[in-house]
Amino acid sequence: MSQDFRLDNIGMVNRNKKISFTFNGKKYFGYEGDTIASALIANGVHLVGRSFKYHRPRGFFGVGVDEPYAILQLERNNERDPNIRATEQEIFDGLEVKSVNCWPSVNFDIGAINNFLRMFFPAGFYYKTFMWPPSFWYKIYEPFIRMAAGFGEASIKHDKERYEHKYEYCDLLITGSGPSGLASAYAAAKNGARVILAEDKPRYGGSLLTSDVNIGNQTGTEWSEKIITELKSMSNVIVKNRSQVFGYYDHNMLVMSERISDHLPKTQKYLPKQRLWYIRAKEVLISSGSIERPLVFGNNDTPGVMLSSAAKEYMKVYGVLVGKKPLIFTNNDSGYETAIEFKKNGVNPLILDTRKEPSSDIITEAKNLGIEIKYSYVVVAAKGYKKVKSADIAKISENKKDLSNIENIECDCICVSGFWTPSIHLASQSGNKSEFNEKIDAFVPKKSKQKENTIGSANGKFTLEETINEAFDKGYEVSNKITENNNKVSIPTVVEKKSSEHDKFWCVPLPKGKSYKRFLDFQNDVAVTDIELALREGFRSIEHVKRYTTLGMATDQGKTSNLNGLQLVSDIENKVVPQVGHTTFRPPYTPVSIGAIVGREVGKHSKPTRKSPMHEWHKKNNAVFVDAGVWLRPRYYKQGNETLFEASKREAKNVRKNVGVCDVTTLGKIDVKGPDAAEFLNRVYTNAWLKLPVGKARYGVMLREDGIVMDDGTTTRISENHYHMTTTTAQAANVLSHLEYYLQLVWPELNVNVVSTTEQWAGAAIAGPNSRALLMKLFPNTNVSNEDLPFMGYKEADLFGIPAKIYRISFSGELAYEVNVESDYGNFMWEKIIEVGKEFQIQPYGTEALSTLRIEMGHVAGSELDGRTIPHDASLEGLVSKKKDFIGKRSLSRSAFTKPDREKIVGVVPLDKKTSIPEGSYIVKDPKAKLPNPKLGHVSASCWSVEYDNPFSLAIIKDGKNMIGQKLFAMSPLKNKTIPVEIVSSHYVDPEGKRVRA
């Protein structure tokens, strides 16, 4: 197999390792180190896609991040990766890529009809063309446009790849390993600074890989290899390739995406695909280089038209010819380097230089090599549809307005150079307001806002000597601020041939009678006419022009199009570019995969999973778990083929009849200690706390300052200055922050400390009529009689040698106790309870039964205390002290909270005593009322009452206390159910609370 466009004696790919891959189902081969682009070009393939709007044929335009065209979809291991730039993705054995935005194939694309219908797709077409009739938008226009638009398709499958995050700190982060990056990294590293040098390509050296220069008597490539080898060997330096610093955020935090195994055939098991680095740098040197600017002429988007620097890099790095009859179209010396490289490889180029009489060493060299050069010449239009076949060229007048001597010449590629645009994206993201440099017709960074400096060609320094000198100086200066080592290395001498003068010419006028499309933005199909139209329609601000025409948007972010667009706007408006200004550069500089941003925080890893010390026992005993905040809790313990409904009913019934045990470790626990603890609790809770005796618990409700219930729970006075507070599982963290806020900021005079003890205690709730009998066996040496340990009592006791705490509190409404032991003894406690409880028919119960028990008792929980309710709404107004002040009290006198028909909790029973009421149902008076049906309130929680064997729900409804006995309707539009119901008291079971005090 030979490759028609592969050169034998040049390039850095590994000729000893052939790699085969498929593109659009066809097999190709390349060499290790090739990108998809270089391998396809070597095989003579130039048509790789279709453009965004008009579906015009697309080839390759650049050679790296600047590529606007060759966006492909990668498929491996049955997974898709859209938005892959062919110029960046390295090939590996088995790689499969395909074109996007074309159907049925890239060669024959139905959507190309848009090219002929383009009068219907002018700038902003979606604001005007598809507006009528309005009903067509959802059904016809939008689906059609959506199908036709976009690059690639994301996979809807779970991404099995591994992505990682890493935090790193350094003295100096340098973005880009071109001459300025290498020189500054070297100077700083030698001065003792901790340096990170990031390079987005696989190879280090940037422009040194392709330019014919000398540094310190070595070729550019040799010098860069020497420097990078030395940097890699230094312990204070991290050097990373395939790593794009894509965002500059606040306080000198930069984010870098490292492509670790994107270029490898099969990911090893633990090797991540990509790694996101969060880098906090004391100083940043931006050496991101510059991107060659296109020249604008007719059909300048035809495959085969590409940047001249790209053509050169394909030859020098990949050993690939982009064409055998090249036309070089340039307004500066850069095109000559490409021409010379062609010539050296046996191909005769023709140079069209827009300048009249330029002179420099490199032009002389080109002449001496016998390269044909036409001065004051331009390309008028490229000819050919799927590939350049020829070009109309012409002489251009001195004022650059008139064309003459138009002729057609054969060529198979057109390499353009419209000078260079510094990549100021990172500097701009850091807050640096750029300034326009007239000499280079481009923006450069101005005053640093954060600790950053831009160097090299990113700073508009286009000669190597300036670049190297500036980089060595800056590397030393910046590092010395940090290390103060005063260790300065000497700066090597530099030899370079090209000059940096360029012609300000950038856009070829249309010849008379021709209306060629001249493209500015190649990714978004924005042509000169689109900008002209936008301005005619009155768009002035460059930000508006951008959004209306899509100039500089999408994955490309205007890397190649930005300045030509600005030039055009300023030309039409008779302004200069700096008056027009540029649009905001936003991160990311290049697309970042969502996987890399998410990292390892996927699925179960997105938050910690907390398990109680009894977790293993639950698992062994067929517990079915449920997520409760970050905790895993048993929902029910499955016996045989039981359903959730059957199991929870059995468990709840057993609590009412015998005794059950529930793992309540997850409850938030906070130790409140200090001489002012009572006073503090008195201010935090709505009820009175000053007189709670030692050894007693009390139920409390705390509010936010706006009067809404924040949390509830019991707090027990363990000793004179020591309280044990419990919170709900969900609010534990918020309550602690809340308490700390008041102690540290509002009432610092209170001598109190709070600390979370949630993890320190394992808890078991023992509930049911048999619970005291069980307790007597568990704690034979402790008097647990009703007199000695009454409801809301507390005792410390000995559980088979383990210190335990018994709180007589009840959520289930039964005679109940909560036993706490230190976490490590949790499982021991649990097993003892189960073992001793056998004779009392003990059964463990899960959260589902727990809910049933509390709902039919009318005890409120999170579904009632939902951030909208005040104590009155939850029938907790009895706990609101009238005498003392507390957090949120003043809010309770607001008129909406005191109105007579204020919402209140009630019980709801279906009239047929059979139909369960879906949670979230509305309570209404008339189910047939005109919509929107005025609702009285909503159903907050539903269960199957085990006491009465019928459905029972809690609801919070308007004027609840006067609604009891009324027949209303529960409506669930979601479940399409309307259920006639009766409103009853929320205390459905044991309304006098006799059982808990038994």
């Binding site: 606040d250 706006d706 922050s737």
Partner: protein, 89 residues
């Protein structure tokens, strides 16, 4: 991501902190009669200045201390940070 100097722990990344709003708000004293308007101002009304702002941050994954941070809301520049007991007039 901001880099916040905690006066107790040193410079730490923003993701260790929780934001706590305006640090100049003073809670009305307990048991003091105040008008609806005053209470409303305290509970709900906050200025949203562009520029220097003294605000609270809670070092929630660190020392769990509430601190005061003087920050420019438009540039994110942090001028100085204080312990809870500082700047209390």
């Amino acid at each position: 991501m901001l880099y916040i100097f905690c006066p107790h722990c040193g410079s730490r990344s923003q993701n260790e902190f929780a934001y706590g709003g305006d640090a100049t708000v003073k809670r009305p004293e307990l048991n003091k009669e105040i008008s609806d308007q005053e209470w409303n101002n305290f509970v709900y009304l906050r200025k949203s200045p562009r520029g220097k702002h003294l605000e609270l941050w809670h070092h929630i994954s660190g020392c769990r201390q509430w601190i005061k941070v003087e920050r420019d809301t438009s540039t994110h520049e942090i001028f100085k940070t204080y312990k809870a007991e500082e700047l209390t007039e």
